[in-house]
């Protein structure tokens, strides 16, 4: 967890941010605005990426927590179109990986639909848009993902 997060927690809204931080484990990106009077107002950028185990398209608790936060926001934006892009790591063949990436996108879509979100479309890139170019398990884990955009 980056240092500035701890600072934020210390300054304001301790309980709410603690809860949020646990679900930001993979992408701890927080937008902060420095006001002239030096008060920090946190405007958390919701994590839009969930990760998957090898050859798996099931959502773990961490992924569900990320999606639950997205659901809360999406409920306030009824007209928005959500695109979910599924990705795989570099192992396996590219055309077959299209199937695996699609399953990941579909898993996210189904979860969001169960929670009442509409207007969702999906696309699978398979292994064509790798985030990490290395070959360690950490690199592979970073690549196995589904990303929400709207």
């Amino acid at each position: 967890m980056p240092k500035f997060n701890k600072k934020l927690i210390f300054i304001a809204l301790p309980t709410m941010l603690l809860a949020a931080c646990s679900s930001f484990k993979h992408k701890p990106q927080m937008n902060t605005e420095m006001k002239s009077d030096n008060k920090i107002v946190p405007t958390p950028a919701l994590n839009n990426t969930v990760h998957f185990a090898f050859d798996s398209f099931s959502l773990n608790d961490e992924a569900k927590a990320i999606l639950d936060a997205q659901v809360e926001r999406l409920k306030t934006m009824p007209d928005v179109n959500v695109v979910i892009a599924g990705h795989t790591d570099e192992r396996g063949t590219p055309e077959y990986n299209i199937a695996l990436g699609q399953r990941r996108a579909d898993a996210v879509k189904n979860y969001l639909m169960e929670k009442g979100i509409k207007n969702i479309s999906t696309i699978s890139y398979g292994e064509e848009q790798l985030m990490a170019l290395g070959h360690t398990e950490a690199d592979n884990a970073q690549n196995r993902r589904a990303v929400l955009e709207y």
Partner: protein, 417 residues
């Protein structure tokens, strides 16, 4: 491993027709044929090294072992100057000598194939070509074809092309074609979104490929003569992994228009579309040499495996154990080239033996030369994907790309005239 062999035994019954085909060179020669390609004497120093291009071509086939130049015992310019015993002592019964003569606008390139079995060298093949400097590589490949066919009786592919996708920056994807050895690359089209899986039509006049949009991926056809691109499939989801039937009348491709990936047969004349598969995900189709069957990858039983069906979708059956991908049958029906455990493998249909061909990392997207002698595939080196060429007999391996970027999805052109 035992399990793999057992399931692959099914291939034997499937490939009965393969028994009728007789190719003597492939497995019959246990040692590659030594040959000496002498440097062609040129008046100009900055010309491409024709003898080296020929030597590389012959070596790539895995059927020849060109002698290293440093071992040449003499530098004869004509057949009469050859002392045959000097060459047979080196184990080479075959010599190629050649000449380059500057003409007004271009060059005259001639060669002689000699055998050294008798006291005086005997010319068994000779030809000459007029060639501009830009055509030198093409002329060298023509000579390679003549020599290759004279000795092996197999049609040469050294003047064929490959198409592939090059990703040379995070958001820069290029569809390129090049000579089979990676030289003379040209970009056909480029995109900020991924491009995938080019495939040549059997007459070499069209190239199908897949282009991503932000919403789906579209199957396109590029015509080399008109430079026009037309849409073949633009449904929701993925439209890719396309391949032509060898009569050029049909296209089979994978589409996820209904959710899962399924194979569709497109009649190119009538535009009639027939869904061929229904269970699980199905992709990576490839026609059998007789054009009547399609092999493909399916995960309908859980893990992906190779399946086979008739062209109309009937008689679908699994023919491999789990975790085999990208099956392609050689034209002689004797071998099935596949990816297993991220390695390029060869299944011999007559002996039911599985051979791992490579020791490279993350092998994928193999393509077989139209004469079955070579395979090009993609593997990972460091943080890049490179194109690898391997002779089908496994004896010779080389990397054919040297520039930066990710190269994959190679498609070998048909024979070109």
């Amino acid at each position: 491993m035992k399990n793999i062999i057992k399931i692959f035994f099914l291939f034997i019954t499937v490939f009965v027709y393969a028994k009728d085909v007789e190719i003597t060179v492939d497995e019959g020669v246990s040692v590659s044929q030594p040959i000496a390609i002498l440097p062609f004497n040129a008046n100009s120093a900055d010309l491409p090294d024709i003898a080296q291009i020929i030597a590389d071509d012959l070596q790539n086939s895995g059927l020849f072992a060109p002698l290293n130049r440093s071992k040449f015992p003499e530098k004869p310019k004509t057949a009469k100057e050859v002392h045959t015993n000097l060459w047979t002592n080196l184990g080479s019964d075959l010599i190629v000598i050649g000449q380059i003569v500057k003409q007004n606008k271009d060059f005259k390139i001639s060669f002689q194939l000699l055998d050294t079995l008798n006291r005086s060298a005997k010319v068994t093949l000779t030809a000459s070509f007029n060639s501009t400097k830009d055509e030198f590589r093409a002329t060298a490949h023509k000579i390679s074809n003549l020599i290759f066919t004279q000795i092996t009786k197999i049609k040469g592919v050294f003047n064929t092309k490959i198409a592939y996708i090059l990703q040379d920056a995070p958001n820069s994807y290029k569809l390129q074609i090049a000579d089979y050895d990676g030289h003379n690359a040209q970009t056909i089209t480029q995109s900020t979104e991924p491009l995938m899986s080019p495939a040549f039509s059997p007459d070499g006049k069209n190239l199908v490929y897949t282009r991503f949009t932000k919403r789906n991926s579209v199957l396109l056809n590029y015509n080399f003569a008109t430079k026009q691109t037309t849409i073949l499939a633009n449904s929701a989801g993925h439209n890719g992994s396309a391949v032509f039937s060898s009569d050029g009348k049909f296209l089979v491709f994978a589409s996820s228009r209904d959710g899962a990936l399924n194979l569709y047969l497109l009649n190119l004349k009538t535009s009639e579309l027939t869904q061929l598969t229904k269970l699980g995900n199905n992709t990576e189709p490839s026609f059998s040499p007789d054009n009547q069957s399609i092999v493909f990858t399916s995960d309908r039983n859980g893990a992906p495996a190779i399946f086979m069906m008739n062209k109309d979708g009937s008689n679908q059956k699994r023919i491999s154990s789990s975790n085999f991908f990208s099956a392609k049958i050689t034209k002689d029906g004797k071998n099935i080239i596949m990816i297993s455990q991220d390695r390029l493998v060869k299944f011999k249909t007559q002996t039911a033996k599985l051979e791992i061909l490579t020791s490279t990392f993350l092998d994928e997207t193999p393509t077989i030369a139209p004469n079955d002698t070579m395979i090009i595939y993609s593997s990972t080196k460091g943080e890049q994907k490179v194109l690898q060429l391997i002779s089908s007999n496994g004896r010779f391996k080389t990397t054919i790309t040297s520039t930066k970027g990710n190269f994959k999805f190679t498609a070998w052109s048909p024979f070109l005239n």
